[in-house]
Symmetry: C2
Subunit: 254 residues, 2 copies
Amino acid sequence: MATGRTHRPATRSRGIPEATVARLPLYLRALTALSERSVPTVSSEELATAAGVNSAKLRKDFSYLGSYGTRGVGYDVEYLVYQISRELGLTQDWPVVIVGIGNLGAALANYGGFASRGFRVAALIDADPAMAGKPVAGLPVRHTDELEAIITDNGVSIGVIATPAGAAQQVCDRLVEAGVTSILNFAPTVLSVPEGVDVRKVDLSIELQILAFHEQRKAGEDAAQTAATPPRVPRTTGGGRKGPDGDVPAVMPA
Amino acid sequence: MATGRTHRPATRSRGIPEATVARLPLYLRALTALSERSVPTVSSEELATAAGVNSAKLRKDFSYLGSYGTRGVGYDVEYLVYQISRELGLTQDWPVVIVGIGNLGAALANYGGFASRGFRVAALIDADPAMAGKPVAGLPVRHTDELEAIITDNGVSIGVIATPAGAAQQVCDRLVEAGVTSILNFAPTVLSVPEGVDVRKVDLSIELQILAFHEQRKAGEDAAQTAATPPRVPRTTGGGRKGPDGDVPAVMPA
DNA sequence: ATGCCTTTGTGAACGCGTGCACAAAGATGG
DNA sequence: CCATCTTTGTGCACGCGTTCACAAAGGCAT
């Protein structure tokens, strides 16, 4: 059974660290804002605060792209916008398909941040026949049957999955089979893909759970363990510890 | 300009590394699925593949929580579900507010993954007076004027921002002022918050840009190796990366 | 009870990412 | 042309996260 090999062990792509790549869009956004205000140049310090990062980190990130700054002055905004765009591959047009036009899929279709960054929604696809033909964000929803044809006809290599969890893997398989090699997954499932296919996942629930953890910790510091907290099981070696099926409280499942 | 101190330098909370905390929801989801199938125990290897991670990493993650496994057998599913839920703070009820009921806000309001994990949508808030009172996901949309009252009345400590970028910082300030200490930000902006407030951001456009980077790189490698079927034409063939002032097209400013 | 087999828990090594601090590079003014 | 000042680019050290590899621990059969 094909185990999901999703991780990229040392995707240090071509000398550009993954962490740096993840920050480039952040810099690009800040630079675009400066560009719209017709700011000609910007120092690493200014740009760093605008992007919410450390200035040393920003300079090191840029050093992976090349020496695009001028000492004593800073960086030319327009020039840097272009260099980062090129490095990220945004100077070309990326057709994407969005599969699963529920609330989230519709929100994505209407999201303006795509078109402005070189991404073009080639098609909206849904499995519900009743949705077919309905216009969403100015595009008619296509039925899943057409998926393969849409992919090949438009040369789509990036797919967005916004289906329920149960359908995600099946949709993913079809996308990959049709030629998609990058997938943005919003369904709360671990996708299994063959080598060479990139998957990034966005899970709304997971983000909230991480926040809850820190929130609990903050609250716990104020009032030390309010609710009756059964203290962690003392790891007494050999002692009759946790009853595997005895003391487990009622926890609601999904 | 008060720089937003959003990063957590060494938030090694109570000995639990941040990276581990980020994976706990993943484990929890896999365990919940097993629980629904009434699977009594699971080995680290099985659970790891289900969650899409390395088994050694999973065991080390769990070791931060305590010794909850049984050697030679594995982990008790129900017991582990409870322990992780407790550690994440999901055994209590977390009221959240969603501000900005556009396409995305509505999608979030309808998202089932919240309620099932201990999160309760206390209110939907929007600045548009025309939206006020309209039911979305079974809840009437409230106007922004009521924001502070809603926060305090419901004891909300987690807020979700799904407004346009321009309104995000203002909304954020009001949330924080009213007592919110954890924020999930979907607006494409860097939020500036005081010490003690956690911010996590989800940026759809950034994820796509990261995918585009890898996609471009993959296309470049293909084109370099086999000139058979160049799917996407890379900007510069041969992948020579830096050409500081060589092939720069029109965008060049100064 | 004893030995074998399975699986956990973890010590240790390694690699990546971050931040400091400073020398080199260029602009600017006299 | 030289001195000074600003800002970049980076060598270096440190800490976190990941992975390996194995001893310890428990179950199970005999």
